[in-house]
């Protein structure tokens, strides 16, 4: 299952009703419902923009989404070219107000640690830091 991305919050399309496996030979033993002991093979993943097509896990996406909800609540708009960047367009220039950098597993330094940035405030900030307007 793939998620479609438009700037803002990603949504995962609802799974189609499970129709059972195609009949094989003598028919489908699972017809009428999902097999009780089988799980989907592929994990749910999410595409990004501006971060080299990084594919997010559901947990990583949840961090982006939570931040997106906070940013939208204070009237910020999503950067069209960088997932996690939120700001305002003023006189034709996009000015980032806040950004979340979600940790990448196995990376050293702050690339391996989820943090946020707020324009005008230095350093790597914890996600508990209020956004301007919160």
């Amino acid at each position: 299952m793939r998620a479609s991305y438009t700037p803002g919050i990603l949504t995962v399309p609802a799974a189609p009703p499970f129709g059972g496996f195609p009949p094989q030979g003598g028919g489908n033993p699972f017809a009428g419902g999902p097999p009780p002991n089988l799980q989907p093979i592929a994990p749910i993943t999410f595409e990004t923009v501006g971060i080299r097509g990084r594919i997010l896990s559901a947990a990583e996406q949840a961090e982006f989404n939570t931040f997106a909800q906070r940013a939208q609540a204070v009237g910020l708009e999503a950067s069209p070219y960088r997932t996690g960047s939120w700001g305002r367009t003023v006189d034709g220039v996009y000015q980032e107000v806040a950004r979340i950098d979600v940790a990448e597993a196995g990376m050293p330094g702050f690339r391996g640690e989820t943090h946020m940035h707020i324009a005008g405030e230095g350093g790597h900030l914890p996600l508990t830091t209020p956004l301007p307007g919160e």
């Binding site: 501006g50 960088r82 950098d101 690339r111």
Partner: protein, 129 residues
């Protein structure tokens, strides 16, 4: 300092990038230069808070997508090994024409969403005052 352990470039996350140069001063090879200031909290004491000149030498191919409508500082977001499929295809095409294509491939993404992909033979980092 010629860098051979490319994992260290992960520490350039959030480095301020003030300049990217396509250097044509040598007749037998091109170079890309990035002037950056590593973040004070980068986590790599050799670079923390320092001004660095990063030189990618003997560059054979570059692909840059820049988004200049984003205001404020430009910062490195990530430094990866590898390039996009489209640039890799170009490299294969060059190789088929007997062009010497070096081994190193980097993709550098920036806070604005801009992306720089480079195919080169060597990368070095020196501290600038």
């Amino acid at each position: 300092m010629v860098v051979t352990d490319f994992q260290v470039f992960a520490y350039l996350h959030d480095a301020k990038c003030s300049e990217i140069t396509w250097a044509c001063t040598k007749p037998n090879g091109r170079a890309m230069r990035l002037l950056v200031t590593a973040d004070r909290e980068a986590g790599f004491p050799l670079w923390d808070g320092k001004n660095l000149l990063i030189t990618l030498s003997n560059v054979v191919a570059v692909q840059f997508t820049g988004w200049g409508f984003v205001g404020g500082d430009e910062n490195i977001d990530s430094w990866w090994q590898g390039v996009s499929e489209s640039l890799e295809r170009e490299c294969k095409s060059l190789t088929a024409k007997r062009i010497a294509v070096p081994l190193l491939r980097f993709s550098i993404t920036f806070r604005s969403g801009s992306t720089l992909e480079v195919v080169c033979a060597e990368v070095s980092v020196v501290e600038k005052s």
